[in-house]
């Protein structure tokens, strides 16, 4: 694994609000009790070590060590408020926009510390894309939605082809190929979400983070997107946060169970849902709480 080469004279992290600079909180919370990842997936494409995330004085994540395996779907489940979304957003430095946030511990992307001062969050987000809970296409045409990201990042070598490719990968091409210049808002909810996925794919990321991508959609659209995720995982690493346990069980290869900011258990999905090692996990997946 290569370490990042900082160009000589690299300026400090770019001037976005606050936490682009070295935000280290000295407090290290205890490691998770049973967060021992299964041996085969140690040190995956994304790895957190003793991650602590604070908003002001409140700790939302209290020492999570987790390794996301490559080219698979990892689900993060847990009761509301357990920190799932916070964890997800730390992975692509979207938490940087919250002024009071501070990060402790480390997050590694292919062995590189994501929060090092010379790491540019903009570059991070090109490699680690995100799809949000509520579809949020730009108020522009379908084409411009997909094309915009590559264009501003200088990846616009063959834009129309890139747009078509991304829309095909998101299983949306057939439905919109004749109306690429219609406004994105004219699409249905499920289509908009697939458009957002296409938009993220157009950046050719390695990892796609999905924050409850189906919770605003109807069951049919949800099924489409779940099918889509199966196809995508052959090329991309997917991390999905969901409060829907059945979805996690259906879709994911690995599952992490979070509660109150701590990683209670992580492992192979089948095992988590049938023979969890920790009692608390079993209580959650059998619906006794949350």
């Amino acid at each position: 694994m290569k370490r990042a080469q900082s160009p000589p004279g690299a300026v400090a992290a770019q001037g976005q609000t606050m936490s682009d600079s070295e935000p280290r909180s000295p407090a290290r919370a205890e490691g998770s009790p049973a967060g021992r990842p299964d041996a085969a997936i140690q040190g995956g494409v994304l790895e957190t070590r003793d991650l602590v995330v604070r908003y002001g004085d409140t700790a939302a994540i209290k020492g999570v060590s987790l390794a996301i395996p490559e080219r698979s779907i990892t689900a993060i489940i847990g009761p509301s408020g357990c920190g799932k979304s916070t964890l997800l957003r730390t992975l692509n430095r979207m938490n940087d926009f919250i002024p009071s946030v501070s990060i402790g511990g480390r997050i590694y992307y292919r062995g590189l510390d994501l929060y090092r001062p010379d790491v540019d969050p903009v570059e991070v987000r090109r490699r680690i894309g995100m799809v949000f809970q509520k579809p949020n296409p730009f108020p522009k045409s379908i084409y411009r939605n997909v094309a915009w990201g590559p264009q501003i990042n200088g990846l616009d070598a063959n834009l129309p082809e890139l747009v078509e490719r991304s829309l095909r990968k998101a299983a949306l091409w057939e439905e919109v190929k004749d109306r690429l210049h219609d406004p994105a808002t004219s699409l249905s909810g499920g289509q908009q979400q697939r458009l957002c996925i296409a938009r993220a794919l157009a950046m050719e990321p390695e990892v796609i983070l999905m924050d409850e991508p189906c919770s605003a959609l109807d069951p049919v659209s949800t099924a489409h997107i779940e099918d889509l995720m199966f196809e995508l995982k052959e090329r991309y690493t997917i991390v999905i946060v969901t409060h829907n346990m059945q979805q996690a069980a259906r879709v994911s290869d690995h599952t992490a169970f979070l509660e109150a900011g701590e990683l209670i258990e992580f492992g192979d999905t089948n095992r988590i849902f049938t023979k969890p090692e920790v009692a608390r996990t079993e209580e959650y997946v059998t619906g006794r709480f949350g």
Binding site: Q14, Q16, T17, M18, N92, M94, F97, P99, V122, E123, V124, R125, R126, G129, M130, F132, K134, N136, P137, F138, P139, W148, G149, I152, N153, C196, R199, A200, M203
Partner: protein
């Protein structure tokens, strides 16, 4: 189940057979009457405010009747009321407002963008915000004094269109900033998040998404601010806009006059003819303002109807 009578024996409910009386008691009727009077009073007061406006417009139009013609629009002021016109004032106002817009709109929108998109919460920025709120309440004549000291004298621009425009820009800058900030704030954060998640820098996000989205709201605010500037006379008096101007400005450094100044000048003369002239000029001014405000309202509907 057949309906059976509920056995109420042993309860406190009066079962003597008399109906419950829900009619209004005398006290309630009195309260009701007072309430009706109150409502009527409030309504009357609101309508009287509307009536004032109607009265004012009626008066002005009546006074201007017969004095507002093409001759009026194309002549310069004169000692003889029949020959006097507002050509100089119209062009002066036009020049002044154009330069004011050119100066104040970019600065105001830029400041609003900084405060909403770039600023960190902190002492300096709270200070700036309080400062802007206070500036919005400073009397316009004080801005005139600032303009006099700073632009007319200090920088040495003299009594020119440019000095007046700079002064006017300072006057409406807080208004523009406040309106632009609201428009920018109304852009949903999900839009920004989507752009950032694609690896966009702050400026790219602002330029391609936030600003276009906020534009209708910003334009509405700008038009309202400019329409305020058109009607202001006090700052112009201080920066030396003259009243007897028999020419049209040819450069930003020229002397000039403006509609409100002309109106003031004519209205403060004792002769009745000049009052008619003032009324005619007022009609012109009100027509311009009405057009601008209608435009702003249309824009506002479009912005919120989207």
């Amino acid at each position: 189940m057949s309906a059976s009578k509920i056995d109420l024996s042993g309860s406190n409910i009066d079962q003597s057979g008399s109906k419950v009386d829900l009619r209004a008691t005398p006290q309630l009727r009195a309260r009701r009457t007072r309430a009706s009077v109150f409502r009527w009073l409030c309504q009357a007061m609101t309508l009287s405010a509307v009536a004032f406006l109607g009265l004012l417009l009626f008066q002005v139009v009546r006074d201007a009747w017969g004095w507002l013609d093409w001759n009026f629009l194309s002549s310069f002021p004169s000692r003889r009321p029949e020959n006097a016109g507002i050509k100089g004032a119209l062009f002066g106002t036009l020049w002044m407002i154009s330069f004011t817009a050119l100066i104040s709109v970019p600065v105001g929108v830029a400041a609003a963008l900084y405060l909403e998109e770039y600023a960190r919460p902190g002492r300096l920025n709270t200070l700036i915000q309080i400062n802007i709120a206070n500036l919005a309440g400073v009397p316009s004549i004080v801005y005139g004094i600032l303009g006099l000291a700073l632009f007319v004298r200090g920088v040495g621009l003299g009594k020119s269109v440019l000095a007046a425009s700079l002064t006017m820009s300072l006057l409406i800058l807080p208004v523009i900033i406040i309106a632009a900030r609201e428009a920018i704030r109304a852009v949903p954060s999900s839009l920004r998040q989507a752009a950032y998640a694609l690896g966009a820098t702050r400026w790219q996000t602002v330029r391609h998404h936030v600003l276009p989205s906020a534009l209708p709201g910003i334009l509405t605010g700008v038009i309202l601010a400019l329409s305020r500037a058109i009607g202001e006379a006090a700052p112009l008096i201080m920066t030396g806009a003259l009243a007897f101007v028999a020419f049209v400005p040819r450069s930003p450094m020229d002397d000039f006059t403006a509609l409100p100044i002309q109106i003031y000048n004519w209205a403060s003369r004792p002769q009745a003819e000049f009052h008619h002239l003032a009324a005619a000029a007022i009609v012109v001014l009100l027509v311009v303002l009405f057009a601008m405000n209608s435009l702003a309202i249309v824009l506002r509907q479009r912005a919120s109807g989207r």
